[in-house]
Every structure is written in C-alpha cells, then in structure tokens.
C-alpha cells in the first residue's frame, strides 16, 4: 500500500480540525495558543505535502516563513498573556469581555 499525498492531507485536515475545536472549547489562553500552533502545523504539513506532490520547493519556503511568523506570534502573544495575567492572576479567556456590546 503506497502512501500518497492525500493521506498526508487527510491527516493535516484532522489535525487542523482538532486544533480549531480545541481553540473553541478551551478557556486557558495558554492552551488556546497551543491549539493555534496545532492549526499552523497542520497547514505546514499540507504545504510540505504539496511541495512534494507538485515538485515545487516554494511550498517549503512558505513553511519557513510560517515558522518565523509563528515564533513572532508566540513571543508577542505570550507577552500579552503575561501582561494580563499579572494584573488578573488565573484569568481565562472568558474573564476578559471588554468588547461586550
């Protein structure tokens, strides 16, 4: 049985879905961030898969940039979380509702 690109894509779709659902149901901001990382990894996996399927190294280049962006995002995001947590220890995503209409 040969492993085709589609297998990887299906796996990536499942990983993405798990990450998305996790983002929606978890309240701890750190865990939500981890779920975002899951989703990013799922997308990375598809990029690498397509790069191999289409024989185009450009897909891997994009993955490289996604990694950088993910790092940046984590740095800033965690800084924000630290700033919030300092003021309100133990806060969850549901405790912050300043945008309530």
């Amino acid at each position: 049985m040969e492993v085709t690109g589609t297998w990887y894509l299906v796996l990536a779709a499942m990983l993405f879905t798990i990450g998305a659902v996790g983002l929606l149901i978890r309240r701890n901001p750190l865990v939500m961030f981890m779920c975002v990382e899951l989703m990013l990894n799922a997308v990375n996996l598809t990029f690498v898969t397509f790069a191999r399927m289409l024989d185009d190294v450009g897909g891997q280049s994009v993955v490289f940039f996604v990694l950088v962006i993910a790092a940046v995002e984590v740095v800033v995001g965690l800084a924000i979380i630290v700033a919030i947590m300092r003021r309100r220890p133990g806060a969850t995503a549901d405790d912050i509702a300043l945008l309530k209409g």
Binding site: A20, L23, L24, A93, I96, A97, L99, K100, G101
Partner: protein, 663 residues
C-alpha cells in the same frame, strides 16, 4: 506694452496677498502705504497699456491676453483672459486712478482704527476684483469680479461689524445683490445654451451676425438688466445702497459711488450689440427703469438729513441717468457720465468723510453749518463737486449730463422731461446740502430739534442707528454739545480732494460738444460700440436749447435751495415731504412683504426642513440605533464566541467552494 495688462489686477492682488500674510505685522501706517503703492503701480500699468493701445490704429484696438484655460468642462471652455479695448481700458484708467487717491485718503481717514491693515486688505481685494470685472474677456471672468466686488462690498460695509446696524446693512447689500446676481447667472446660462461660449468676442459677433434670435437677445438683455439693477442700485433693487453708507466713508466713495455701482453700466456698454439685437422695446425698458430711478432717488435725497444718505440717494439718481443714457443709445454719454461721476461723487464722498472726520463723527447736517471757515480746503473742493454734480458749466457734470439729456430728447420727450426734473432736483438737494453744511451759522452746539418737529416728521431713529460710524459710547454723548470746533483734515486726506476737484473741473474736456473734433471720448470708444451708438441729428438750435435749459434748471435748483436754506423764505418742511424722507416707503414695503407673507413662506420651508428633511435624517439615525441595540446582544465580548463565528464562517465559505468545484 499691451502684454502688461495682467499686471493691472495682479498688483492689487499681490498687495492683498501680502497684507493677508503680513498685514498685522506691518500695521499702521505701513499697510496703508503698501496698499496705496500697489494701487499706484496698477495705475501706472494701466497708463502703459493705454499708451500701447493708443499706438495702434483705431480699428485694431483689441487685444486679448489669455493666461490659461480656466474651466475646461466638456463643451464649456472658459479661459482666464483679459480683453483690452478702449472701453475696458477707459474703465480701468479711472478705476485705478480714483482707487489710488482713495487709498491715499484712507491712510489718513482710518488713522487709529484697530483693524487698519484689514481695511486695506479688503480695499486691495476690491480693486483687484473690480479690475477683473472690467478687463475679463468673457462673462465668467466678469462674474468672478462681479462676485468679488460684491463680497468686498459686504465685508467693507460691515467693516465695523460690532454694531448690529452695520452688520445688517452688509447683509442687506449682500442679499439684495444676490437677486441681481441670479439675473446675471441665468443670462450666462442662456448665452452658453445659445452660442456655446461665454466670451464677449463670440457673444458680440453672434449678436451682430444675427445668430442670436431677437427673443433670445431680449431674454439675455433683460436678465442682465436684473443683474445690473442689483449691482447698480436701480429700481426696485436700490434699497441696499443707502444702508451701505454704514461702511467707512472711503468705501462709500470708492465702491458705492465711483466704481462698483457703475459695473451695471459697464456691462451694458460691453454687450451693446445684444441690446441692439433685442426687440425694440428693450432699450425703452432700460431707459424707463433709469429715469424713474433717477427721479425717485432725487426726490428722496431732498429730504435726507444724514450727510452721507444724501450722497447715497444722489448716487442712485446719477446711476439712473446713466441707465437712461444706455436706454437712449447714448453709450458714450453713459461712460462719460460714469467717469465724471466717479470724479465728482468720489470727491463729494471724500469731502463728506473729511467733514465727518472734522466734526468728530457727526453725520447729521442739521448740526453742521458754516464749516467752510473751519475747513477751507474741504469746503472749497466740496463746492467744486457740488457745482459739478449740479450741472453748472463749465464743470464736468454739466457736459456729461447735458449729453445724456440731449440723447434723451432725441429718443423720447417724456424721458427727457422726467430726466430734466431729476436734474433740477439734483441741483436743489446738492445745494441744500452745501448750504446746510458749509454756509449759515455753526449749529453743532445746538441740540437737535425734537423728532416730532423735525422737517418732514422724519424720526431720528430712522437715520441715526443705520448710519453711525462711531462707537456706541460716543453716540450717547449726542445730546450734549461738541466741545471742540471742527478742524481741517491731514494732507493725506486733503490731497486726494484737491486732485479730484481738479479732475471734476476739467473732466468735461474729455468730450466737448462744440465740434466733432472735440468728441475725444466718442472717437476713442467707437471701436467698442460697433456703430450701435444712437445718432442725434439735432440742429444747433435744439442743442443750444437743451443745453441752455439744463443750465437754467441747474441755476433754478441752486436758487431755490438758496431761498429756502440760506434766506429762509419758505419753511423747508414744505419741500421735505414725509414721503421723500421715508423713501416712498419702498424699503419698508419690502420689509413688510418679507416679514408678512414672505415670513410665512419661510416658516413653511423651515417646517418642511424640520419635519421632513430632519425627520429623514433622524429616522435613519434612530433606525440605526434600534438596529444597533438589537445587534449589540450578539457582541458578547467573549473571544471564543468570535472565534466560533470565524470558524462557522470558514465552514460556509468552504461549503460554497465545494459546490463550485467540478469533480
């Protein structure tokens, strides 16, 4: 030399811009000198252009300078260009000349005013606009200047805007002029719709070639008449001019006597082929409007006690003369009268300003008298102006007025008769003014007669608050007497008086009637008139009769005034009828109509605005508010709810793509 024409309006404009930026820093008197220098430079440029034009042969005296294409819009293409021809340069010459003198005069007159530099800023802007008006080579340029002078007139009339009366006088001038401007604008639209161009060259050539139908030409001419009636204060739109005397006196002299108010006359002379192409009765309409204005305003002037109001009504009356000159086909005479009038009326206004200055802001003639002993230069020059406007030969007013009356005689005896009565009244009321102000006994230490006993029962309240040049604090001192005697004005004020007096004496030499060779102005203007000037082939006897009759009228008016106001043979109340003092109730009728039925109409419009327009706006606003209130419950503020919405949105977008994909 002709290329310099752009300098003529550019110099005052540069003065305006400089004062706009540096005016406050320059202060008094530098700002005034700068403005005067800009005006003087403009005058020199005009002289240069004039000499350049003089060099050319008679039929080649047209020069069109296009600066740039101003309005390129589809079929409508309007250039910013100047038209130099005998007519425009004649106007520009006396405008710049008189304006320079009045600028100089203002340096003295406005001494000590907190807004000294602002006054000259407006004055320079006015001069620039006026020059654009006369030099523009198309109707839109003229309209630009037309609106510019209107704006400056508004700003200058209400120059001392802290007083309610001055501010509303400015507003009145503005609103009344809008009515006239409407006429001008519609005339422009009609012109463009007919010939597809706004330039005077096209308008004139199509009028002469018959391309414009008589009915269209009639429409244009009548609409222009509306515009000219507003700007040049003809019946029934003259009501703003007497109120406009609330402005500083140099403004009255420059704008409301010498230049701006003659714009209507200029306009008609400019488009004379259109009048010629219109129906025959159009000139008659113009003539009748003019002569009735002349007569009505002259009667009103007889009963005014404010020194400037007399001159204001006199100006309206003289403008009436110019209009019935146009109606009689006497274009040269009309321009001739514009010029002589600019000299002697500017002189009279500046003289009255000098009197007001010397009398410490007193404007009521009943409190003056015997001033010629205290103010010799002002008195002498004022008397020159008086003789000129009264039509006593050989002063300039006689020549121009006689010319007009001669053409009127040839055109219609009725207009001539009414015009003659107006001329008689002119001599009378001007003599009355001179006798009350400069002759007789000094009266400034006497209290005013009680309002009820005043001649013609003219209530003081009518005159006083509208024409007050002074701060309210000084008004309160009126019942007391002036402590100081009047004094002569500084040289900056008397020098323009002397120059203008000289011009008022000799300006008649521009167009002497004795032999055709002496018709300098007539020959000079000929290229601009395209043979539309009426030809009077009267015998010498008729001419002598008309001229002699107007001299007799002038002297009769003077004599009558002397009998009443010097000799006191009659009670002046016989002449100063209530109807005259009240201006035939024209102004108050307007006020009543506007305040009565007009007011209701405005209330209706206001109701419509409040209910329907505002209702629509408020309806939209409250609709948004209600919708927002309903929608705000969706905004929980929880980031996970938002994320869910994003996720579900992604699902929907994905499903949509799935339906589009081909398998």
């Amino acid at each position: 030399m002709l290329d310099l024409v752009w300098l003529i309006p550019a110099l005052p404009l540069a003065g305006f811009l400089t004062l706009l930026v540096l005016g406050r820093r320059l202060g008094e008197p530098m700002a005034g000198w700068l403005a005067t220098a800009a005006m003087g430079g403009s005058f020199l440029a005009t002289v240069a252009v004039f000499l350049g034009l003089l060099d050319r042969p008679g039929d080649d005296r047209f020069f069109n300078q296009v600066l740039f294409e101003w309005v390129p819009a589809g079929n409508l293409s309007v250039d910013a260009g100047f038209l130099v021809d005998p007519l425009s340069i004649t106007m520009a010459l006396f405008i710049t000349g008189v304006a320079t003198l009045i600028h100089l005069y203002s340096v003295g007159y406005m001494h000590g005013d907190p807004n000294f530099s602002k006054f000259f800023l407006y004055l320079n802007l006015f001069a620039a606009s006026m020059l654009v008006l006369v030099l523009g080579d198309n109707m839109l340029m003229t309209f630009l200047g037309w609106e510019g002078v209107g704006t400056c007139s508004y700003l200058l009339v209400s120059f001392w805007f802290t007083s309610e009366a001055n501010a509303s006088a400015g507003k009145k001038a503005f609103v009344t002029n809008r009515i006239g401007d409407w006429g001008f604008m519609v005339a422009m639209f009609l012109t463009f719709a007919t010939i597809g161009s706004l330039s005077y060259a096209d308008l004139i050539s199509s009028s002469m070639s018959g391309e414009i139908a008589a009915v269209t030409a009639t429409g244009i001419a009548l609409l222009l008449l509306v515009g000219a009636a507003g700007k040049s204060a003809q019946l029934p739109l003259f009501v703003w001019l007497p109120d406009a005397m609330a402005g500083p006196t140099p403004v009255s002299a420059l704008i409301h006597a010498a230049t701006m108010v003659t714009a209507g006359v200029y306009l008609f002379v400019r488009v004379n082929p259109v009048v010629a192409a219109a129906y025959d009765w159009v000139p008659d309409v113009i003539a009748w409007v003019g002569v009735l204005t002349a007569l009505v305003a002259a009667t009103i002037a007889v009963a005014q006690n404010d020194i400037k109001k007399v001159l204001a009504y006199s100006t309206i009356s003289q403008l009436g003369f110019m209009f019935f000159a146009i109606g009689s086909g006497a274009y040269v005479a009309a321009i001739f009268h514009v010029i002589t009038h600019a000299f002697f009326k500017a002189l009279l206004f500046l003289g009255s300003g000098s009197v007001i200055h010397g009398m410490h802001d007193e404007q009521d003639m009943r409190r003056m008298g015997g001033l010629r002993r205290f103010m010799p230069i002002t008195g002498a020059t004022f008397i020159v102006g008086w003789l000129a406007i009264a039509g006593v030969p050989p002063f300039s007013g006689f020549w121009s007025k006689d010319e007009i009356l001669l053409y009127a005689w040839a055109d219609s005896k009725a207009i001539w008769a009414l015009g003659s009565i107006a001329a008689l009244l002119t001599a009378f009321y001007m003599s009355r003014q001179v006798f009350m102000v400069f002759f007789g006994e000094p009266r400034w230490n006497e209290a005013l007669p009680v309002a009820a006993a005043a001649p013609g029962g003219n209530p003081d309240a009518e005159v006083e608050p509208e024409s007050e040049d002074v701060a309210p604090a000084e008004v309160d001192e009126h019942p007391e007497h002036h402590v100081e005697d009047p004094h002569e004005s500084p040289w900056t004020m008397t020098l323009p008086l002397v120059v203008l007096a000289g011009a008022a004496i000799v300006a008649g030499g521009l167009n002497l009637p004795f032999t055709p060779d002496l018709h300098f102005l007539g020959h000079w203007l000929e290229p601009s008139l395209f043979g539309n000037e009426a030809h009077v082939d009267a015998t010498t006897g008729t001419k002598v009769f008309v001229a002699g009759f107007s001299v007799v009228l002038a002297l009769a008016g003077v004599a009558l005034a002397a009998l009443v106001y010097l000799q006191r043979r009659f009670d002046s109340a016989v002449i100063e009828q209530r109807a005259f003092a009240e201006g035939w109730w024209i102004d108050s009728t307007f006020a009543r109509v506007v305040a009565g039925p007009g007011r209701q109409l405005f209330d209706l419009a206001a109701w419509f605005d409040r209910t329907i327009i505002d209702g629509a706006v408020n309806g939209v606003a409250s609709g948004v508010r209600v919708g927002g209130t309903a929608l705000r419950t969706l905004q929980t503020g929880y980031v996970r709810t938002y994320a869910l919405a994003v996720g579900l949105g992604a699902v929907v977008v994905g499903a949509w793509f799935l339906t589009r994909a081909s398998f």
